[in-house]
Symmetry: C2
Subunit: 123 residues, 2 copies
Amino acid sequence: MKEFHHHKFCPIRDILSRIGSKWSMLVLVTLDANGTMRFNEIQKSIGDISQRMLTLTVRTLEADGLIKRDVYPEVPPRVEYTLTDRGRSLMPLLKELVRWALDNQEQILEERAKLDVPEEVKE
Amino acid sequence: MKEFHHHKFCPIRDILSRIGSKWSMLVLVTLDANGTMRFNEIQKSIGDISQRMLTLTVRTLEADGLIKRDVYPEVPPRVEYTLTDRGRSLMPLLKELVRWALDNQEQILEERAKLDVPEEVKE
DNA sequence: CTGGATCCCCGGTGATACTG
DNA sequence: CAGTATCACCGGGGATCCAG
């Protein structure tokens, strides 16, 4: 019931290890929105991700079976990335999260702006 | 083509800033499972979170309006944490993520184990 | 074009001690 | 009991250069 935690394969820590990194979700959403993409296309679409971090991120996503990586031995080389079925199965959940953020972030930011909330005295 | 990314209020980065930290999701799920809880109860339930990190985490969650913090000026002091409506509205999505992890993590781990073929010649 | 290899920094996190 | 306050650490992430 509440004993998710801290045994070896806690699903929450598992989730975080896959989509909790700085760029994973952005790469997944980008691929979902645009279909198969090349390395540079992903990088341009995200805009501020370095080559290094994009490489590391797609490697992790590939190792998790969330995306597949197809290498075409041409000159110049071409590498294409596509969501796998497993990756696609995760997208509806991520989209719900994005929706939630869109529905809530404005109000949250407003509340934070007036952080002058005085301490209430509880009964 | 989607331009979620990299402008100031990217919903994905927003989400990650709220639930992407190491302990946020665990605290939310714990509170959801057990209702109102005291500081020490949360800490014991999670097991391996330090006082410092629990404090920082609940402060952030409170600032985001995901949990509320009620202080009762007694001796000894008592502080109770409860999900807010906004926090509760996030829980179904987190539960879906947990479900997804439970449905997929075993297979992912198996695949990773297979890929982890011992390389004799590392050189 | 798609990375690999290095170097380095910073902030999230941990450990410990102290307090109202 | 429920926190602060400090110090230390490590690894995620950034910047840059090099390579097939």
